[in-house]
């Protein structure tokens, strides 16, 4: 039996029936990392000692007749922009190559308390800035479906690890699509919760008004199971919401009959790959045959969301990155005086994309340009949010492609920043409006996965999961897995 193919429910049933132990499961996942990660580079740090110690502790609990629930005995990995106490957390940057946090992010504490076993830290674009994982300060990640292609980004290591069976689930972060786009490229499920649904405490901030942590899993049920554990208010995060957490599992298998779904015509315009468009239209037909009420809608301002994003993002980046100066955080390159120490540390240890965004933000926030860029982008954000929410008062969910294309070849877009930024064009609007969105496997084009995205009303993650589950039952694309042997 290949234990890395089993679901959360199957693993926990196996623990109860004593078919295998947590230690055996963890060892099988660690073997998969040893076997495949030379090719994939999905991990920056692997923690076998602490993983096996936790597994042994859980096996002792099983021996004492503890009934597994939550994430008990489930192997996980954490994107390396999320703090893990005592475990190196680099944010994919050479600037933090030796940074060991003194505390866990709340999301890490929550999954650990629920019994998850953390196998290590996933590679990512430096400080989560990127859409291909080629901006990692260490090495790029390969897509498990085609090693010559990108896995997406910035949570590319997390999505690749889940797709390759190197962990059962991963916790990623999504600022402009960084959970959903790699999930789409790697053929797995990625959920970006409503802003405020999951605590940001302990995330290394990139764009504080947009960042959200969320699960990356193989199936929709597992996304619901992980989400149930990580959602909720946190007194350490002033932006976390008081809104009660829904029961994501109780209605998961409910009908989607008469669920009103909008198809925004602006997402099916120029720039969308013809075959990706066909796959998404087939998926929409499937939703209709399941009884959903699918209608065409219009969101005329959507094309501007990406422009607003690439003002708000670098503006907040330039502020958030100020702390990485070699004194407060990170490695230091000493110089003759304090200013040169700052300049050399940041200049030499930060990557090109990070420096580019810091300078863009510095430009856009400068006195002469603030109104023309940042203030205007904030207004546009309000306008776009109002427009999307108005449409979402008439339909419950929007359906779109996750990305305009399937995974592109490594190196294909590294010389053109705009081509890279356009990879986020369908995912950014949900971040701009703070809405929940999910990417699930929606078929294949030329043996590469296609992501199908659903965007919902604020805090309606349960509706997104129900719809996703209904589609997954009729089109179980997740049963296909990449061949890495």
């Amino acid at each position: 039996m290949n234990l890395t193919k089993l679901t959360i429910d199957q693993l926990q049933a196996g623990y109860v029936d004593k078919k295998f132990t947590v230690t055996e499961v963890v060892n099988e996942y660690l073997s998969a990392i040893n076997k495949y990660d030379d090719k994939l580079k999905a991990f920056l740090t692997v923690t076998p000692e602490s993983a096996l110690a936790k597994a042994a502790e859980l096996d002792r609990k099983l021996a004492a007749n503890t009934k597994p629930s939550g994430l008990f005995g489930i192997p996980a990995s954490i994107k390396d922009v999320i703090n893990t106490k005592g475990v190196r957390t680099t944010a994919g940057s050479k600037a933090l190559a030796h940074f060991v946090p003194a505390y866990n992010a709340t999301v890490v504490d929550k999954i650990l308390a629920s019994g998850a076993v953390i196998l290590g830290k996933n590679n990512c674009d430096e400080f989560a800035m990127g859409a291909s994982n080629e901006n990692s300060g260490f090495y790029p990640v390969a897509n498990p479906w085609d090693l010559s292609r990108v896995p997406g980004g910035s949570s590319g290591g997390s999505a690749a690890a889940v797709a390759a069976g190197e962990c059962l689930f991963a916790i990623g972060t999504d600022t402009g699509g960084s959970i959903r786009q790699p999930a789409g490229f790697c053929g797995v499920v990625g959920l970006k919760p409503t802003y405020g649904r999951v605590s940001r405490f302990g995330l290394i901030a990139m764009t504080s008004s947009l960042d959200q942590a969320g699960p990356i899993t193989r199936t929709v049920t597992e996304a619901a199971q992980v989400m149930q554990i990580i959602a909720g208010i946190d007194s350490k995060d002033a932006t976390s919401s008081h809104q009660p957490v829904a029961d994501y599992l109780v209605n998961l298998k409910g009908s989607i009959k008469n669920l009103k779904i909008g198809v925004p015509k602006e997402f099916f315009a120029e720039g969308l790959d013809k075959y990706v468009g066909q796959a998404i239209r087939q998926a929409i037909d499937e939703l209709t045959s399941l009884g959903a009420d699918v209608v065409s809608v219009s969101l005329p301002s959507l094309p501007y969301a990406l422009e607003a994003y690439y003002i708000i993002n670098p503006s907040e980046v330039s502020a958030n990155m100020a702390r990485f100066d070699g004194l407060r955080f990170g490695d230091q390159i000493k110089a003759e005086n304090l200013l040169e120490t700052y300049q050399n540390t940041r200049g030499e240890l930060l990557g090109e994309e990070v420096k580019k965004r810091i300078m863009l933000g510095t430009y856009m926030l400068s006195a002469g340009y603030y109104d023309a860029y940042y203030k205007l982008a904030c207004r546009a954000r309000s306008y776009i949010t109002q427009e999307i929410n108005k449409v979402l008062s008439e339909v419950e969910v929007l359906v779109t492609p996750t990305s305009p294309t399937t995974a592109f070849p490594l190196g294909d877009r590294t010389q053109d920043p705009l081509a890279m930024y356009l990879a986020d064009i369908y995912t950014v609007p949900a971040n701009i409006a703070g809405l929940p969105a999910i990417s699930i496997p929606g078929g294949f084009v030329d043996d590469l996965p296609v992501g199908l995205q659903f965007i919902g009303r604020p805090f309606a993650e349960d509706t997104l999961l129900r719809l996703s589950y209904a589609y997954e039952q009729t089109k179980p694309w997740y049963k296909q897995s990449p061949n890495l042997d």
Binding site: K236, S301, E307, Y363, L376
Partner: protein, 95 residues
Amino acid sequence: MPITQSEVIKLAKLARLSIKPEALPKLASDLDKVIGYVTKLQTIAATKSISESSESVRLRPDEIESFADMPSLIKAAPEHEGDMICTPPIFSKRL
């Protein structure tokens, strides 16, 4: 107006970044492309009713509140003395 290499040098100085001279042409070109792209947002301002009264940032009332979980934050620090977090010295005695 295109972003020039001298503007990149000025931005780098403001942002406390050292930039190698050979990196300047590509940086100037990339920054110029992105600035040119996002400037299109001004179109939406001209054609849509993003009025001066549009809410740009939603802020909660600026009220002083006591923080409920101070002990756990203090406890999370590697070292502390009472309610104060110990940090490594920044300046050596030599300076």
